[in-house]
């Protein structure tokens, strides 16, 4: 089981320059602590114009700072919006390769197509086309990374032969992921040999069904490159505290704030009717109240949420682990619902009391496993200067 942290970089109102700066600097410190205590991934989203919910429009910049300030943790650039009005696929390949070099081969690249009218409309993108452009991006980017001369005649990109530079450090290239909100997108990932990066909360039963179907389908995938990333990661919230009642009170306030801000987004389907956007799945809508013998029920917590005392979190993660989920990426705070120092304490407590139940000391000391490798003769992240 891998553990990651996941940033929307949400900023509470009223907006001030100091407030936005604090969100970025706090997040960087949380990344440094997560790296020190053994987390495996840090993910930063790409969103545009989403006031309060996410001020993370240039994740490659944030993640470059993360890479420079950490040693072991892998940097998840995800998800890059694969819509040409927002990102040219050549530039995505270039930026990602540079980030892979700067991080010492620690890049994971997530791909997505945006869900809100606020974003798509702001860039003048056609919602009908985003699935097709995403499919084109994920096929051409691995070629840019691995081939010296690529000529491409596609639907959203047409170019004469060029050598896209630099090439990423990882061999053959950084792992690719697809963010999954709508049911069925996990199958798009499986069919292409891409990792399934869940960004919506679903019930245990639904996650078990999706994970099993993903693993079944990926056995017969037609991969978009020579790397098959067959991992399923999910998104969750994290607030760990010795006192279960405190954990519930503080953690659920974060969940409520996240859900409300998420529900207030202006979803594409609401503004622009299209066959291309059917479900409005998101992490908030699918939370289920725990029932029966689920230990969350007695604590008044939704099913499967990473909020509670350490013993409770061990049981929750064991349940996710049992159904083939390979990693969990945690939202640590939303728009200042949890003070920064409490976030750091939560990270440290989780690492001290929960992580060892899933990893050995040797595993924690080794580089994070990935379906790629570093080239011969390259020492990897520790070969780079780390700023503290």
């Amino acid at each position: 089981m891998k553990f990651g942290i996941f940033f929307e970089l949400s900023v509470p109102r009223p907006f001030t320059k100091a407030g936005e700066y604090r969100v970025y600097t706090d997040a960087l410190e949380q990344c440094r602590v997560a790296d020190e205590v053994g987390f495996d991934h840090v993910w930063a989203v790409e969103h545009h114009f989403l006031e309060e919910y996410s001020h993370c429009s240039a994740p490659e910049v944030f993640l470059t700072a993360v890479a420079a300030q950490t040693r072991r943790i892998r940097v998840g650039h995800g998800a890059v919006v694969c819509v040409p009005e927002m990102n040219n696929p050549i530039r995505v390949a270039e930026r990602a390769a540079a980030l892979d070099l700067v991080s010492g081969g620690r890049l994971e690249l997530g791909t997505a197509r945006s869900s809100t009218w606020t974003e798509l409309g702001g860039f003048g993108a056609d919602p009908d086309q985003t699935k097709a452009t995403w499919d084109e991006f994920i096929r051409v980017i691995p070629r840019f990374w691995t081939e010296e001369a690529v000529e491409w005649r596609g639907g959203c990109l047409s170019m004469p032969e060029r050598n896209v530079l630099p090439k990423p450090l990882q061999v053959p290239h950084p792992p690719l992921w697809v963010t999954v909100t709508s049911p069925g997108t996990e199958l798009d990932a499986a069919e292409r040999g891409l990792g399934c990066l869940g960004v919506s909360a679903v019930s245990y039963a639904e996650q078990e069904r999706r994970t099993a179907e993903y693993h079944r389908r990926i056995q017969s995938c037609e991969p978009v490159s020579s790397v098959v990333n067959d991992q399923v990661h999910t998104q969750n919230y994290l607030f760990c505290h010795e006192d279960a009642a405190v954990a519930a009170r503080v953690g659920l306030a974060m969940v409520a704030r996240f859900n409300t801000l998420n529900a207030h987004l202006y979803w594409t389907r609401e503004a622009y009717p299209t066959w291309a956007y059917h479900a409005l799945g998101n992490i908030g809508q699918a939370l289920r109240q725990a029932s029966g013998d689920d230990p969350s029920a007695a604590k008044g917590l939704p099913e499967g949420v990473g909020i509670g005392d350490p013993d409770h979190l061990v049981r929750v993660i064991e349940r996710w682990d049992s159904m083939g989920v390979a990693g969990i990426n945690f939202v640590l705070d939303t728009a200042g619902a949890i003070p920064h120092e409490m976030v750091l304490d939560s990270l440290r407590l989780f690492a001290r009391e929960v992580m060892p139940r899933f990893r050995t000391r040797e595993q924690l000391a080794a580089p994070v496993e990935a379906p790629t490798r570093l080239p011969d003769g390259v020492r990897g992240p520790s070969g780079f200067a780390v700023v503290r």
Binding site: A263, A271, P273
Partner: protein, 245 residues
């Protein structure tokens, strides 16, 4: 989290009066439902909503026209303008004004569901290659929309949000959650242009639908359910939602 800042008392001046809650759903048959969404500029974002509702970003106005052949009140055409908003975590559209071609239907929609209905010449004229929505009151053209180039969508591809009307109700001044759900057999998306929009007539001079996003035309039925929930307009829906007995 953004919330509306409009003065509730001022909004109440134009509110309808619900005398008694309907106990049965009403089905409208042989209907055409035109639905247009346009973005508004920022001054209209939270200023036109009561504190009980939150605006979307960007602010948006939906203009909905129903052309109804069969109803308990006879045939009618209704045009309603709605501000896109959130009630708690639910997507909604708050009615700012409505014009109905039938006095009987206007009275029923106001008395049962709180629609802020006036009687006027509301029309939805459908052609093979498009449609036109017009509203006139006296010699004043309040609204003119031209929509062309229909392109088929699946019936489930269009999402209608419930309407919130502000009305004097047996519970007091409340936002009424109107669940009027079109059930379409056929839907087309069109390219639309607003040729005339008389903002004060639709509730406020700051309503400025300057950027049309999309429009659809559906064919089917509409069911208006009995009201289940109302909300206080002065506090958010988490605190102010009440079930209608």
């Amino acid at each position: 989290m953004l919330a509306g800042t409009a003065d509730v008392a001022a909004l109440a001046a134009g509110a309808a009066t619900v005398v008694a809650w309907p106990s049965e759903p009403v089905t409208l048959t042989d209907t055409r439902t035109f639905h247009l969404v346009a973005e508004l500029r920022r001054p209209a974002r939270e200023a036109l909503l009561p504190p009980g509702l939150s605006p979307t970003e960007p602010a948006a106005l939906s203009i909905q026209a129903w052309k109804v052949a069969g109803s308990p009140w006879g045939p009618f055409t209704l045009v309603v303008t709605r501000l896109s908003c959130r009630s708690g975590v639910r997507a909604r559209g708050m009615a700012t004004a409505a014009v109905c071609s039938s006095a009987t239907a206007a009275a029923a929609l106001a008395a049962g569901w709180g629609y802020p209905c006036r009687v006027g010449a509301a029309r939805l004229d459908v052609r093979y290659d498009g449609c036109t929505v017009t509203v006139t009151e006296g010699d004043q053209v309040r609204l003119a929309i031209e929509a062309v180039h229909p392109r088929p969508l699946g019936p489930d591809d269009v999402q209608y949000t419930a309407t919130m009307t502000l009305a004097h109700t047996p519970q007091g001044l409340r936002l009424v959650q109107v669940e009027a759900e079109p059930c379409n057999e056929r839907v087309e998306r069109l390219e639309a242009r607003i040729e005339r929009f008389d903002a004060p007539a639709w509730g406020d001079a700051r309503l400025d639908p300057y950027h049309v996003v999309a429009a659809t035309l559906g064919t089917g039925t509409i069911t208006i359910a009995p009201v289940r929930y109302v909300c206080r307009p002065d506090v958010d829906a988490f605190a102010g939602t009440e079930r209608v007995a």
